[in-house]
Structures are given as structure tokens and as C-alpha cells.
Symmetry: C3
């Protein structure tokens, strides 16, 4: 799609300086953009690029005073970064809305109900009694098991698998290869050393506006539901075990693992590769540093790091000191020697 | 499917109290269950729910003495939890058995042999000379490469990939997105700094009754076989490198990684996010704590934790003390000061 | 395919001892090989197997002096291991070249251009304006989004997903389930505690001769490109975030995670389960040990370990001493006691 500077200015409420008909059909970083591209300048550090860039249209801050003439058309707005982000979001939504209809071959069970303006890609599978609401976009090769619900406007990228009976809310995005609703990992040890599977008959409930990255796994509950609350953001390759609950607007970075039945509060921030044991509670607003190993419940607002994890500041002090262990060891040895010497002297000297 | 209290009692060898015709068609937790659901009460802590639950049928322990009348029909058995688990397992097996036939479009090479009571989902791919034994359930979008064998009763969930020449035993379950038989990670460094791939021509052998979670990766051997022995249970997002052997009934939690050629014994327990270096041997019955980094072979029955991992109890003591490092550091400084003082005094005092 | 000892000798420039017509159709380890198999003996430690193996043909080193007669046909070469690897590579390339044509059903958009000697497996999806160069092998169930380029001779294994606008170079191998080009993980916090998605409109550029393992995730850039340079080797379940750059011939072991905008140099070696924070620079030839947590930029050639990671040798000393913490703690307590005693004595003795 091609847009003129004038059209873009209307979309983001800006005013044009220069050729209002200058046309762009893609985006670029200001330092790399070429003719026909739209760029933005938010950080004054990059102002020099404004005068050398090949971009045809540039979004800039209202207050920027030009030091020399600019070849490109300019669009002035109060906050160039925000305006650019809003524009991109609108652009992507526009693109998504244009995806519509059903590619063949795809498999849609006759008992499934499909809303308006839905896209179903080739090789997608939609099982019995599934409900797909309006505006859902199902990329090729997605699997949707029996009795699943997918809320309005949700986007499922290629190769997402949603097992039977799970539900995905409205306005969600799930990236490629993510598996929602596989069996929780539960086995009862038997007398002969083997294990008997504990059936996992619960499901996964993903609420609205949740984003889930690629190749992440969220297991179904043993009984009841594993729940991902509204607005949670989960990165790639994250493991969420059975009966876990992730609170609203909680953010979980890549490769983190959360063990069974743990409840994570709202607005928690969890760094990458962190591990959290089962059956604990992480308070609202807690912060868990990357690679932490959390083995105990955390109060609201608590910050931790390390494995095992504890108070962030205290752990940083201990980590710093652990680098001084060789020095501390030397000091102890020196003290022992000096003390021994002193004692010998004292003894010689006195008693 | 709907079952009466009487039918359920027959399946699990229990006796009904109340309406034997009370009907249920799904399961619920006793604290959440509604009319038409089956629940169980095993833990006396939850007994209050027995009198308030909406469940229509409840499985309880033989010995439970009711404190007040119960609206639901009761089924008494020696062990309510076990009976419930057995019932669920039977129910799920029944559901699986009903999956049969071949959905279209699917791809089955004409040289493949397919047993009785097999299900092949839409968009599944079955290559040349594959042998699928009786009762195998292949969900949609599964890939089975050439010359693969899949044993009787095994279930492959959506998007499982089994590369050429690998074999999966009987009674196994493999969850969505798991990749079995991708190339091991072997590259020979060249004089110019680049790497030459070492061909990986072995395979993966998964024995019987193995369960493998979602998005796990098990690489084929360089030569010979990567082997997962009978009854092993492997969670989600686990990495098992080329030529590894995992012993019978060994349990590996999510996101653990095992490097090339390492041999894991029988009945080993490995926590989540653990890492094990290559070319070592983990003894039977060893226990490796979550997030451990195991760099040396372990004797039978050994328990370890930490990164690098060592003896569990000793490591816990050191971990606890590492939190006291600031205190120890202060003590050392105080000792140095006091000793210096004492020495000055001694010198002043004596020699 | 069956080959005679004579044919194999010609392929690898060796000379045959024994029956030049001995035929083999597969490979085996010398200790396990059976009739009809080809094996090799490179490590003198295994020489005994030479006299007991069932292999029909064995590649051995020129200089090996036999201690007793060998039943198999022998092929003598300067370096048996190298010759075997070269043979395997040729064999696998031959097998790949034979894969050709298009299995049905598959989906190839009419605007896509497809080169010569290309294989497209069943249920593969190829979007608008895609360019597939000569000799590319696309296994079943692969997804290739709009405007993607795949370079000559590249192999995409089952279930690989390449999102819109990404490009894969020539001579690459990508294993099953890997997702290239999912959205980077970028969200702007809002006043109400929720998050606004930052659109991710960049792409991923994979250069030539790159190998990527199974179920790995490489996110597209926010703007610009996430770049994997020529010859890089990336293992399974690795996470590479938006705007990361991985240098030429850099090797990354399984389950490692690299956060956004970090630049990794050339010929870096990164062990398994390592984590690297965002916005730093890892110098050429650096070595990062398994399970390290790298939080600061590293100079060229630097070796680090630990979490947080620092100088390899120093960290090893501290790790060793951390095991002696109980002992150090005892020593400090003993010193305190002795010092107190000495002070009391001194005081009694002097002033």
C-alpha cells in the first residue's frame, strides 16, 4: 500500500512541511531509509541523519528546529516516537483486516461456528464444536482441538496448537509453534519403580489481550484450569505448568519456567530463564531477575535475584563478595598465621 | 458421554448411596463442580465442600462418616483419589479408542503399513516404509519420516515430527511440537574459522510407555542411537542431544538440557532447567535438583544441586552461607583490626 | 542404495584390501555393525573390534598394522575418520538431491517463484512473492510467509516457520519446528498498568551456510533486521531476540537466550543454557561457558563463566572456594574466639 505524506499526517494528527504528495510504501530506520520509505526522528542524538537520510517522509517532533534544509517531506507531531508506533499499529491492523476468507485445503468440522471477517489459512485444522468469533485470523497449519473457543480479533500464527476444551480470549496474539493445553506433567510412582500417569482433564483459559510468543508451552490443568489473565505478555520458549495462574498484565521473558500450581500475581515482571518452583505464590508487582531460581513465595512488590533467589540488593552484595572469596580466604589464612605468631609471642612474653 | 452413578460404581468397584440413576457427563473439583458433574473427596480438609457442592455424584472414601445429609449421590470406595484417577484413565482411553479412521486430506505413502484401529488426522504426513502398529492415534499435522516405526497404542499429538529411521515404542505419548530425530549438533572446526558439519546418520529409539512433553527436542545419534528407555517421562522444552541414553523410569522436568553422549541411569529424577554436560554417566536413582549444572559423573543414588552441582546437603550449606558473605566480610575486617590493635598493644607492652 | 567396497574406495581415494565386491547399504559403529554395513576404525582404542565386527567393509588408517586376519573388506585411507565423514556428507547430499518435485496437497501462491531441482513437501505453505532458489528442499508442513527469499540449496525441515519478509541464505539447514521472524517482545507500559504492543516491523536475515536446530526462535527486529551471519551454528531451543546480531562462524549451544539488540562477534563459542542481557556487545572469539549469565559487554577473546558471569579462571577459583564456605565460616568463628581469649590473656597479663 502506498500513502502520501498528507494521508499519513491525517492518520496521526500532524502537519506537513514540504511536498504533501510525497509517497511511501514501507518503513525504515532514519539512518538506513531509502526513497519511498517513511522514517521518524525522536532522539535528538540522531538529528544528523535528518539531513542525509534517503527517506521520502519523516515524522519529527513539533519543537525540532531545523539546522539546515531537509530533502524529505516532514510531518510534525507532539511526540514523533508515539506517532510512529500508533501509525505502525494502525498499519498492521489494516493489513490483518484484509486477511479474510478460507484458503484450501483446510479442515473445519461441520459443527464448528465461524464468525465474520475471519481468515482460515491452508492446512489449518478446526475441530468439533469450536467457536471462532469475529475477526479472528488463523494462519496456515494451526491446530484447534474440539470445543475450543477463540475470542474476537485474536491472531493465531502458523503452527499454533490449541488442545481440546481450552479457551483463548479476545484480542490475543499467539506466535508460531506455541502449544496450549498439552497434558500437565503428573505421574504417580508405583511400587516397581515405574510411573502411572495422572490424567490431566482440566484445560487452559487465556483471557483477553494476552500475547504469547513462539514455541511456548502452557499445560492444561489436572482438574480445573491453568489461567493466563487479561493483558499478560509471555515471551518465547516459556514453560507454564498445570494449574498455574498468571496474573493480569504480568510480563514473563523468554525461557522462563513456572512449575505446577504456582500463582503469579498482577503486574509481576519476570526476567528470562528464571525458574519458579511449584505451589507458591508470587505477590503483585514482584520482580524476579533473569536466571533466578525462586523457591519460596514472594510478598507484593518484592524484588529477588539469584539461584536460590532472595532479596535483590542483598543478593547483589553477596554476588559481589563471592568474587572476593579468594581474597577473603587469603585474609583468613593470614589472620590465622598472625594470631598464632602473636600467641606464641604472648606466651613467650608472659605466662 | 453420560454415565449414571450406578455405572460409575461398577467401573471402580464402589457402592452407591443415594440416587443410583443420577447422571454426570463431566468432571469437576468438589469446590467448583456443578449439576451433572462428577467430583471426588479424598482429603478430609475439604469435607465441608461435600455438603455445599453442586456435583451430582461424588466418590468418597469408605470410612468417611457423614456429619450431615448430602444432596449428591455418593460412591464409596477404599481409596477415592485412586478410584477417581483410574476412572479418568479409563475414560480417556475410551475416548482415544473412539478416534479411528483417516481424515482427509492426509498423506500416507503407499509403502507404509497401517494397523487396525488407527487414527490418522488431517494434514498428517506418513513417509515411505513407515510401520504404524494397531491402535496408534496420529493427530493432525504430525510428520512421520521414512522408515519410522510407531508401536501399538502410541499417541502422537498435533505437530509432532519424527524424522526418518527413528522408532517409537508401544504405549507412548508424545505431545505437540516435539521434534524427534533432528541432527545432532556436531561441527568440526576448519583452519579458516568456519565449521564443517559432521553428518548425523544415527537415529532415535524411544522404547515403550515413554511420555514426552510438548516442544521437546531429541536429536538423532551421530552413529548408532539416541535411546529413551522404557517408562521414562520427559517434560516440555527438554533438550536431549545426540547419543544420549535416558534410563528406564527416569523423570526429566521441563527445560532441562542433556549434552551429547551422556548416559543417564534408571529411576533418576532431574528437576527443571538443569543442565548436564556431555560424555558423563549419571548413576541409577540419582537426583539432580532444578537449575543444577552437572559437570561430572554421579554415583548411583547421589543427590546434587547448584551450578556447578555437588553434594546436595553440602551445597545447601554453602548456599546458605553465601548469603552471610557480607557478614563474614565484616567479621574478617573486624578481626584484622582487632588483631592489629592487639599486636600494637603487645608490642607496646612487651618487646 | 548399495555400494561395493571398490565404489566406496573410489569416492574417498582409498585402496581396497580383500573382496572389492563386498556390498554395503548402511552404516554402523564398528562395535555394533552387522553384515551389509560399512564401519570405520579411527581410534586405536577400538582396534579389537576390527577382528570381531560383523561389518562387511571397514575404512581404516593407512598406517594400521593388522595383528590378525580380518573377515571384512578393508579400505585404507590417510585419515579414516575424515574419509568416513566426507563419505557420509556425499551420501546425504546425494539423498537430498534425489528429493525433487512437489507433493500434493501443498500450497504455493501463484506469485511465488520456484527454482530448479526444488522439493516441496505435502502441506507446505508458500506465500505471496516468495522466491525459492535452485535446489531448495522444503519438507512437509513448512510455512513460508509472504515476500520471503530462500537461497540455493537450503534445507527446511518439517514444521519450520518463516514469517513474512524474512530471508534465508544459501546452503542453510533449519530443523523442525524452528520459528524465524515472530514478533520481538516489545511492550510500552501504560499509566493503568497495562501494556501497549510496540509494532515489530523489521525482519530476520539469515546469511549463507547457517545451521539452526529444532524448535529455536529468532524474532524479527522492531525496525531493521535481526541478523545471523554466514556460517553461524545455532542449536535447539535457542532464543534470539529482536535486533540481535550473531557474528560469522559463531556457535551457540542449546537453550541459550540472547536478549534484544545485543551484538555477538565472530567465532564466539556460547555453551548451553547461557543467558545474555540486551544491548551489549560480545567481542570476537569470546567464550561463554554453559549456564553463564552475561550482563556486561565482553572484549574480544574473553572467557567467562558463572551467573553473573566474569573472568573464567577467577570465577572457577571463587566457585571452588564457595564450597569451602562452611570451613571458612568455622575458621572465622575460631579466630574470633582465639582472639578474644588472647585479648583477655593480654589484658590479664599486662594492662
Amino acid at each position: 500500500m502506498t500513502f502520501s505524506a498528507q494521508q499519513i499526517a491525517m492518520m496521526i494528527g500532524g502537519s506537513v512541511e514540504g511536498d504533501a504528495q510525497a509517497a511511501v510504501d514501507s518503513f525504515g530506520k532514519i539512518e538506513e531509509a531509502t526513497a519511498g520509505q517513511l522514517a521518524f526522528l525522536a532522539n535528538p542524538k540522531y538529528e544528523d541523519y535528518l539531513y542525509s537520510t534517503g527517506a521520502s517522509v519523516i515524522i519529527i517532533n513539533d519543537k525540532l528546529v531545523l539546522r539546515q534544509p531537509v530533502a524529505a517531506s516532514l510531518i510534525r507531531v507532539p511526540d514523533a516516537y508515539n506517532a510512529f508506533a500508533i501509525l505502525l499499529t494502525k498499519y498492521q491492523q489494516l493489513q490483518l483486516q484484509q486477511m479474510e476468507g478460507r484458503q484450501e485445503p483446510s479442515y473445519v468440522d461441520e459443527t464448528a461456528t465461524v464468525g465474520k471477517n475471519v481468515f482460515i489459512g491452508a492446512f489449518a485444522y478446526i475441530g468439533r464444536n469450536v467457536r471462532i468469533e469475529d475477526g479472528v485470523k488463523i494462519y496456515p497449519q494451526v491446530f484447534i482441538g474440539d470445543e475450543v473457543t477463540v475470542g474476537a480479533g485474536t491472531v493465531l500464527h502458523p503452527g499454533v496448537r490449541v488442545y481440546n476444551q481450552c479457551s483463548i480470549g479476545a484480542g490475543c496474539t499467539v506466535h508460531g509453534g506455541t502449544v496450549i493445553g498439552a497434558d500437565g506433567f503428573g505421574f504417580a510412582p508405583q511400587a516397581d519403580g515405574s510411573y502411572q500417569k495422572v490424567p490431566q482433564i482440566g484445560n487452559v483459559v487465556v483471557e483477553d489481550n494476552v500475547e504469547i510468543g513462539a514455541n511456548t508451552t502452557i499445560d492444561r490443568a489436572t482438574i480445573g484450569s491453568t489461567i493466563i489473565r487479561t493483558g499478560a505478555k509471555i515471551d518465547n520458549l516459556v514453560q507454564i505448568a498445570h494449574n498455574v495462574e498468571v496474573g493480569a498484565n504480568t510480563v514473563i521473558a523468554a525461557q522462563t519456567g513456572i512449575s505446577g500450581s504456582t500463582k503469579i500475581g498482577r503486574n509481576v515482571l519476570i526476567g528470562g530463564q528464571a525458574g519458579i518452583v511449584g505451589h507458591i505464590r508470587i505477590g503483585d508487582g514482584a520482580r524476579i531477575n533473569a536466571q533466578s531460581g525462586v523457591s519460596k513465595s514472594l510478598d507484593n512488590g518484592k524484588s529477588v535475584t539469584g539461584s536460590p533467589a532472595y532479596d535483590y540488593s542483598a543478593a547483589l552484595r553477596s554476588q559481589a563478595l563471592s568474587r572476593k572469596l579468594p581474597e577473603m580466604d587469603q585474609k583468613i589464612k593470614a589472620l590465622e598465621k598472625q594470631l598464632e605468631e602473636l600467641r606464641r609471642l604472648s606466651m613467650a612474653n608472659g605466662f
